[in-house]
Amino acid sequence: MNTNNTAAIEKQKRGLGLKASARISNTIIYIILVIMSIIWLIPFVCIVLQSFRCESTWIESYVIPQKWGFDNYKALWNSDFPRWYLNTFIIALVVSAVQTIIVLCMSYTLSRFRFKMRKGLMQFMLILGMFPGMLAMIILYRVLDDLHLTGQYGNAVPGLILVYVASSGMGYYVSKGFFDTIPKSLDEAARVDGANRAQVLNKIILPLAKPIVIYTVLTAFMGPWGDFVFARYVSQMYPQAMNVAVGLQSWLATTTMVHDNYTLFCAGGVVVAIPVAILFMCLQRYYVEGVTGGAVKG
């Protein structure tokens, strides 16, 4: 045993043990994490608690209700809210189905096929994607209105579906990156066995790319679920044409309305959050894999 080693042991004896120091640093990290999660959770907890408050309908200086009940949820049921919810649900469902198909086809094509202008097309879409979507809003609105796909013609839902779906082909980056990581030899083996391209995609690639499929479905669902700006213009303030975000906002347009509707608004917020929360809880595992898988290896 040389002198250096002895010194190190001496030092360890005088200080804390390895286990103890690890425990302390863990404790500190956990305390910080707990504090951070409390800070993040406070708004949600407040909204949930306010939605059960029955003694008043406005913003109070306390959080915990004095009188609990489901009054707000009952009122919600008797308002325009179910209609908004249905609108949003239809839009989100259709968009997530169609957009997923388009994105997966697009990514598969760009990942596996080699054709003229493939690079050019990808670059073109990359540049297009750099323009903020807001730029196109006015012209899109005019086009939709001329096609009678807006609130005043009772067609806001198909109009919004069209808008959300139309640009979905450009969101192929992450899933193309993921597809690139699946060995081409799998495709080739299947082709040798007599599978056509569609069969390769359905039977070989998609089962392997489950995380990315789920990630695509989730993001496609979330976009229209929370969209406000475009949905508001297309609704043209017709209550039957609104989605939940626009509808809920219309309840808080003035301070008097805040006074009358605040707890109702909170109840609406809670109901809106439910499907998204469930989706995320069930699919969380895949979601993380999908995001990181595509990005790192691509």
């Binding site: 406005w58 005043q152 303030m237 805040v258």
Partner: protein, 506 residues
């Protein structure tokens, strides 16, 4: 029995045969008769009432008009925004707050009233409200309410009644009780104006028939304005000042909230019997008392231009006139406590005794009718309070006013071209020294007007840049008025080099 029944039935049949053509002829007597599908925007609370009122109109009108109306809740504050996004998608009939009026007129989103309807509306309603719905000489909208003013709500358990007239005492009471004094000074020019009106300042705008702003008479940057900001600073410097006008502040530690009638029910919900309502207090500067002023505004109802469909447009005007008539305004007061603009309704005992409106009435003697105001003013004036709060001495307060003044001046800054343009101005062609008739430069130094119909004895001058800094009369620069010698149509010819003005028969 059977026979009787048969006779009765056949009699009924004959009767219907007679009655149907008769009814048809009654309907045909009005050119407006027919069914119309329309959309109506009103504030959320008024939706049910408005549905009922339209139904009443359908049943009682003498023109044979029937409206199938979709009534949507779109608040008076947002309807103009939505209207201007796309007029075609907007409602046929919509309510809006008067501060939106000018831009709606400019955008062509309001169809003016016919002569007869205008006469009836002007006669029946509060002149201040009528002025708010008028641009130039044209009446563009129907007055619905006249209650868009603000006054003071306070918590009786905190504020002693004898203190409500003094701003200084109110601030002291709030600080002593650790309660907020909510006055939306830092984010709303509508409330800031209160201080300037207290000291007699004014900001009055002039618009033409198309809703364009021509000029402003604004005295905020003056010795009186300085007194106003000194008073304002007293409140802004208090740690208990809160810049808000929401009634809900009472639930969150406020003892005083300055807001309007629309908050009445909300305050009552929260304070119950402790609710106090009164006019705004006075503040003291250099030993002199100044009572806080206010804006007095209104809600209006407008008809969207219907393009080719003039029949539907006329029918919509009939409905708008009905919905803003005395009866409907009274119904709105009874159901929603909206203060009527109709003079008869205003005089009714029920309106006089309503506590919220009574406070508004008390404040009204210090208030100014909110005329047409340039959209930019709200943003320009809004920052005064922040500048005043940041100021540390009188020079800083003056700087806040200078800042305001400079921004106002830049609003009407003319282009080089406008500054150099020459025009004819005078008591001619039905104008009275208020309109510049443009002149064009036909050759260097020679300017000609369009042909003008001039009468003998009328007087005019020629000036540059619509101002009197450079002007010519019959005997050169700053000369006497040119007098027209004989009646006829003339082109005014101005020779800049010679400084002469001549009339050329057109």
């Amino acid at each position: 029995m059977k026979k009787v029944l048969a006779t009765l039935l056949s009699l009924l049949m004959v009767l219907t045969l007679v009655a149907v053509p008769w009814q048809a002829s009654a309907q045909a007597s009005s050119a407006l008769a027919g069914e119309y599908d329309i959309t109506v925007w009103v504030g959320e609370s008024a939706v049910d009432l408005t549905k009922k009122q339209i139904e009443d109109f359908n049943n009682t009108n003498e023109f044979g008009i029937k409206f199938n109306a979709e009534v949507h809740p779109v608040s008076e504050a947002t309807s103009a925004d939505q209207m201007l996004v796309d007029i075609n998608a907007g409602a046929d009939l919509y309510c809006f707050a008067q501060d939106q009026f000018a831009r709606l007129v400019q955008a062509g989103a309001l169809n003016p009233l016919g002569v007869k309807a205008a006469e009836a509306v002007i006669e029946a309603n509060d002149p201040g409200v009528v002025a708010a719905a008028t641009s130039g000489e044209t009446l563009y909208a129907y007055p619905m309410t006249s209650d868009n003013g603000y006054f003071m709500y306070y918590d009786k358990s905190v504020i002693p009644e004898e203190d409500v007239d003094s701003l200084e005492k109110l601030i002291a009471d709030c600080e002593a009780a650790d309660k907020f004094f909510a006055f939306e000074a830092q984010s709303s020019a509508w409330y800031i104006a209160s201080w300037f009106f207290a000291t007699g300042c004014k900001s009055e705008w002039v618009t033409d028939d198309d809703g364009q702003f021509i000029s402003v008479n604004d005295t905020f940057n003056s010795p009186e304005g300085l007194i106003a900001v000194k008073g304002m600073k007293k409140l802004l410097d208090s740690p208990k000042h809160l810049s808000s006008s929401s009634a809900d502040e009472f639930a969150n530690g406020a003892a005083i909230v300055v807001t309007g009638t629309w908050s009445f029910e909300a305050v009552k919900d929260i304070l119950g019997d402790n609710m106090g309502v009164t006019d705004l207090p006075s503040f003291e500067v250099d030993g002199k008392e100044y009572h806080l002023g206010s804006f007095n505004g209104c809600k209006l109802m407008g008809v969207k231009p219907q393009g080719e469909d003039t029949v539907k447009q006329a029918a919509l005007h009939k409905l708008a006139q009905y919905l803003t008539g005395e009866q409907c305004q009274m119904e709105r007061f009874e159901a929603l406590a909206w203060g009527p603009a109709n003079l008869n309704a205003q005089a009714s005992p029920a309106v006089q005794e309503n506590p919220g409106l009574a406070a508004l009435l008390l404040q009204n003697q210090y208030s100014r009718p909110q005329g047409q105001i340039h959209g930019s003013w709200w943003d320009i004036a809004k920052v005064i309070a922040d500048d005043v709060k940041a100021a540390t001495d009188e020079a800083g307060l003056q700087a806040a006013l200078d800042n305001y003044y400079n921004k106002m001046a830049s609003l009407f800054e003319m282009t080089e071209e406008e500054k150099n343009a020459w025009g004819v101005i005078g008591a001619i062609c039905g104008t009275n020294w208020d309109t510049d008739f443009p002149m064009t430069e036909v050759e260097p130094g020679i300017f000609k007007s369009e042909p003008l119909e001039l009468n003998a004895g009328e007087e005019f001058k020629v000036r540059q840049g619509a101002s009197w800094d450079v002007n010519y009369g019959s005997d050169g620069p700053n000369g006497a008025n040119v007098v027209v010698a004989e009646t006829g149509t003339f082109v005014v010819v101005f020779d800049l080099n010679a400084g002469t003005i001549t009339l050329e028969a057109a």
